[in-house]
């Protein structure tokens, strides 16, 4: 029987499961191969020894104490936003609105500091700022969840659009506050988080506490269990009497509220101001990658957020052609994400000889 179709010499089969050590080995191998490839590119494209390139990267991140602290701070902020979207993602609710939820939290905190900064003592001001940020972020999570639960509106588009609403709200508020028309709100002198060791330590500690809480929430609480069941199968959830809509709304409020906390931390510990472009600066989207790479495991996210931050910081101020750092980051991520394919699938080569013989015989 002649087959008109061209057949590839191999086909792809889904794996059952891979032992943990093996899947870790695949991931490590992917990183090593990607770095080797980067080295080759480094020689070819910028005519520099790969060692020089990686040395510059490491130096850019770890050479001084202050750089290490900044690295830890950046990691913590990214981790906080990644933690926020994780409950939603475990529920298979594709919340890509962390950018807006964080920004609206930051805006709420700044608004409180702007209007009440003079009249309230710092401690109480911080608490009000925190509460406002949590409520604002929660609201930004609540809206798409309600529309999803009641009318099955697409959560991806809805959360994405809410990002732009938040950005324009920030621009509007700044145009009201800043009379000069510069569009930049100078950092406020009130509502600063207290300095422990340095201005970053408290923020990092708070994020680590949130990490542990989220980890316990997802693994050990009834609500976390409900999130997993809804994410795995809504039919099963309904079958055991879980009110799916309630879980969706509750989880998205939590997701938005943690984004709000991230916004509060950025304002209170770092920026003391808000800007549509730079306050969150795309971290809401990078956080998706952090969460995904860690397979939605909060503890593993410490590692993935540190890794992504390392790549971002290490290539930021390299004195080489501007596009090259992006090539490096892109290559490494391509390999890391690509290796998941080999963890989930295996390639089987057709035994061309045996089938042919079988056919003839």
């Amino acid at each position: 029987m002649k087959n008109r179709k061209f057949e590839l010499p191999f086909h792809i089969v889904k794996r059952d499961t891979m032992p943990l050590w093996k899947s870790l080995a695949v991931r490590v191998a992917a990183i090593v191969i990607s770095l080797l490839l980067c080295s080759v590119l480094s020689v070819l494209l910028i005519n520099k020894s790969p060692l020089v390139f990686f040395e510059t990267m490491f130096k850019a991140v770890f050479s001084r104490d202050i750089l290490i602290w900044q690295f830890a701070k950046d990691t913590a902020v990214l981790l906080c936003i990644a933690l926020a979207i994780t409950p939603a993602f475990r529920m298979r609710f594709w919340n890509i609105g962390a950018e807006g939820q964080t920004l609206i939290g930051a805006l709420a905190a700044v608004t409180v500091a702007f209007y009440l900064g003079e009249s309230l003592p710092n401690g109480i001001l911080l608490i009000v700022m925190f509460a406002a940020a949590v409520l604002a972020g929660g609201l930004w999570g609540f809206l798409p969840a309600v529309f999803k639960a009641k009318w099955n509106a697409n959560e991806t588009l809805f959360t994405l659009m809410m990002n732009y609403v938040a950005m324009e709200l920030v621009n509007f508020c700044i145009s009201v506050w800043v009379q000069s028309g510069s569009g930049v709100l100078t950092p406020l002198s009130v509502g600063h988080l207290p300095t422990v060791l340095n201005s970053y330590f408290l923020l990092i500690a708070i994020v680590l506490v949130i990490t542990v809480i989220i980890h316990i929430y997802l693994r050990q609480t009834k609500q976390g269990y409900e999130i997993s069941v809804v994410g795995e199968s809504e039919n099963t959830a309904r079958y055991v009497g879980i009110e799916v809509n309630k879980v969706i709304i509750r989880t998205m409020i939590i997701s938005g509220a943690i984004c709000g906390i991230a916004g509060f931390l950025i304002v209170g510990a770092l920026d003391h101001t808000v800007s549509a472009e730079s306050t969150v600066g795309g971290l809401g989207f990078i956080a998706i990658m952090v969460s995904w790479l860690a397979k939605f495991n909060p503890l593993a996210m410490i590692g993935t957020s540190a890794f992504i931050t390392f790549l971002r910081r290490g290539t930021k101020n390299l004195a080489i052609r501007a596009a090259f750092p992006d090539i490096v980051v892109g290559t490494v991520l391509f390999f890391i994400i690509g290796c998941e394919f080999f963890i989930n699938y295996k390639i089987k080569f057709r035994k061309a000889n045996t089938t042919d013989k079988g056919g003839k015989a």
Binding site: K5, T221, K222, Y225, S228, T236, Y239
Partner: protein
């Protein structure tokens, strides 16, 4: 037969894993004939047709069209050979018109003109007697109109071998008659029509020949004129097989669940449950027989609180008779009110009257367990969510058909799956994995579940082990009603017997067991009573000890029933 051969299948087999969906099937189709493909659920009718239509490719054997070997890899290949299939589930774009749907996907190199298409569609429709407006949008159409579009789609592409997969399943008897007229006209036009069905009376009224399949094998092809319904049923269900399933006499039988006249419509507005009434009794296994999709799934899901009903009641009699009253489910005022209605008696049988007693005296009497119920607690479970049903204290266990899609979570381990039913217990914020873990271990031991550990995701277990886990969990909830849909589907013999024994054990414990099955041999040996569903209606309730497979088979295909229906239908029309 002098007609030329249109299509021939020789020695065709198709395997899914180790399961043979079709085994060495030979089939011949002539030009200008209607061939019915008859068989029970899962006998391989649809798989066989899908291999002609290019959905599946045979593992072995060959297909010949007009005497030449045909390689059919895709529906496009099938159309090249003039073969078109109308699937049971319509594949239409809702916001397009009939004509737009019909030309969708055709690339003949010609300039596209919707006017021309409309014209051509009307021409084909007129030729065979369809009534259709090519400009009508699909979302404005009834089910039968949609089906017409599907058939026209196939004819427009020039098919002269048509395959119809259970075309009458979605039609009213009147619409079915119309469709059959159209099919007869097509036959006169020289087309070959293969019609998949399990309605015997339709087979007898429309087909020229009948091919009967059983368990993937071709049993025989017979001339319709020379056969009868009982003969076909016998070919379909086969000889009785002795299974020797233990069936103890029911004891302490009491009405537990009364289904009163319930009806339900699906998204297309078709009646999936049509005035269904029956009673499930404690200490009994009630079998539900029927062709797949006759409403079994909807019935169980409605009882479990997962589907909304159009009408009817689901009355649950909670076992209460001769049991002590408690303030757990009833308030003080309710207890007094019920006592005044004479709903309680003392241990010696004298009626309870609380008049003149003090508040504390009444509480003491009740709490000491001396006041007993006269009757079972009666409640209507209709429109209650699964959570509300549980909160009412109704212990309803349900083993759904879709084990990993509904009963269990495939990616979770055994322990977490045990927790599905029980995690809510207690006021703690945190889940307690201790008890579910013990339960998982107990089920693994008691039911010989083969699994690496209780922390293995259930999707990695084999079908039989998955089912043991699910049944084990549902039984562990100490149910008063246990519903199981196809609990032995895909299981090997030993696992199947384990499940039968578990169900029987539950029956002996006084549980009302509802067993939806497809293997008639099992139904007649396991069940005390057998309810037969056909197209969402109850066609019979038979005694399990005396019912025969042939009898059930006939009720499943409702020959007589449909005639009655038609007669009453026409009567109604004439009255109007």
């Amino acid at each position: 037969m002098n007609k030329p051969i249109a299509l021939e299948m020789k020695n065709v087999s198709k395997y899914f894993g180790s399961l043979a969906a079709n085994k060495n099937v030979d089939l011949t189709v002539y030009r200008g004939e209607i061939l019915a493909i008859l068989g029970e659920n899962g006998c391989g009718k649809t798989t066989l047709m899908n291999m002609i239509a290019g959905i599946y490719y045979p593992d072995s054997g060959s297909v010949y069209v007009d005497g030449k070997e045909a390689v059919i890899h895709s529906p496009k290949d099938a159309f090249r050979h003039g073969i078109g299939m109308v699937h049971q589930h319509f594949k239409l774009v809702d916001i397009f018109t009939a004509a737009e749907n019909i030309v969708l996907g055709i690339d003949d190199g010609k300039k596209y003109s919707i006017n021309e298409v409309n014209h051509k569609v009307s021409e084909i429709a007129d030729k065979y007697g369809f009534h259709i407006d090519p400009k009508k949008k699909i979302y404005d159409m009834s089910v039968s109109e949609k089906q017409t579009v599907e058939i026209l789609k196939v004819l427009y592409r020039g098919a002269d071998i048509l395959i119809l997969d259970e075309p009458s399943a979605v039609l009213t008897p009147q619409e079915t008659d119309k469709l059959f007229d159209v099919l007869r006209r097509m036959r006169e036009d020289g087309k070959s029509i293969l019609i998949i069905t399990h309605k015997l009376h339709e087979v007898l009224s429309i087909s020229d020949r009948v091919a009967v399949l059983r368990k993937g094998e071709h049993i025989a092809t017979v001339e319709t004129a020379t056969t009868t319904a009982p003969l076909l049923t016998e070919m379909m269900v086969g000889q009785k097989v002795e299974l020797n399933i233990n069936r103890p006499e029911p004891k302490n039988v009491r009405d537990r669940l009364e289904i009163v006249d319930i009806s339900m419509k699906d998204a297309d507005g078709v009646n999936v449950l049509d005035h269904v009434s029956f009673t499930a009794r404690s200490g009994e296994i009630l079998g539900i027989a029927g062709i797949a999709g006759s409403g079994q799934r909807e019935l169980l899901e409605a009882i479990a609180g997962l589907k909304d009903l159009e009408s009817g009641k689901i009355i649950f009699n909670r076992p209460k008779k001769n049991l002590p009253v408690s303030f757990y489910h009833k308030t003080y005022a309710e207890v007094v009110a019920l006592a005044n209605e004479g709903r309680f008696h003392y241990e010696d049988g004298t009626p309870v009257d609380f008049t003149g007693m003090s508040h504390s005296h009444i509480c003491e009497l009740v709490n000491s367990g001396k006041v007993l119920f006269n009757e079972d607690d009666v409640m209507d479970l209709r429109d209650k969510t699964p959570l509300q049903i549980r909160e009412l204290g109704v212990r309803l266990s349900f083993v759904p058909e879709d084990r990993l899609g509904m009963g269990l979570v495939g990616n979770m381990d055994l322990v977490d799956n045990m927790m599905l039913r029980s995690y809510r217990k207690g006021h703690s914020l945190f889940v307690d994995r201790k008890k579910p873990s013990d339960l998982a271990k107990k089920i693994v031991d008691d039911l010989n579940v083969s699994t690496p550990s209780t922390h293995t995701p259930v999707r990695r277990l084999s079908g039989g082990n998955v089912q043991k886990v699910l049944v084990g969990r549902e039984i562990a909830a100490a149910p008063t009603v246990l519903m199981a849909a196809y609990p032995v589907r895909g299981l090997d013999i030993n696992s199947s017997y384990t499940i039968y024994d578990l169900l029987t054990e539950q029956k002996e414990n006084g549980v009302a067991v509802i067993f939806v099955g497809e293997d008639l041999d099992v139904l007649v040996e396991l069940c005390d009573r057998i309810l037969v569903l056909c197209a969402g209606r109850v066609t019979a309730v038979l005694d399990g000890k005396t019912a025969t497979k042939e009898e059930i088979g006939l009720y499943m295909t409702k020959t007589d029933f449909d005639n009655e229906e038609k007669e009453s239908g026409t009567n109604e029309e004439s009255q109007i």
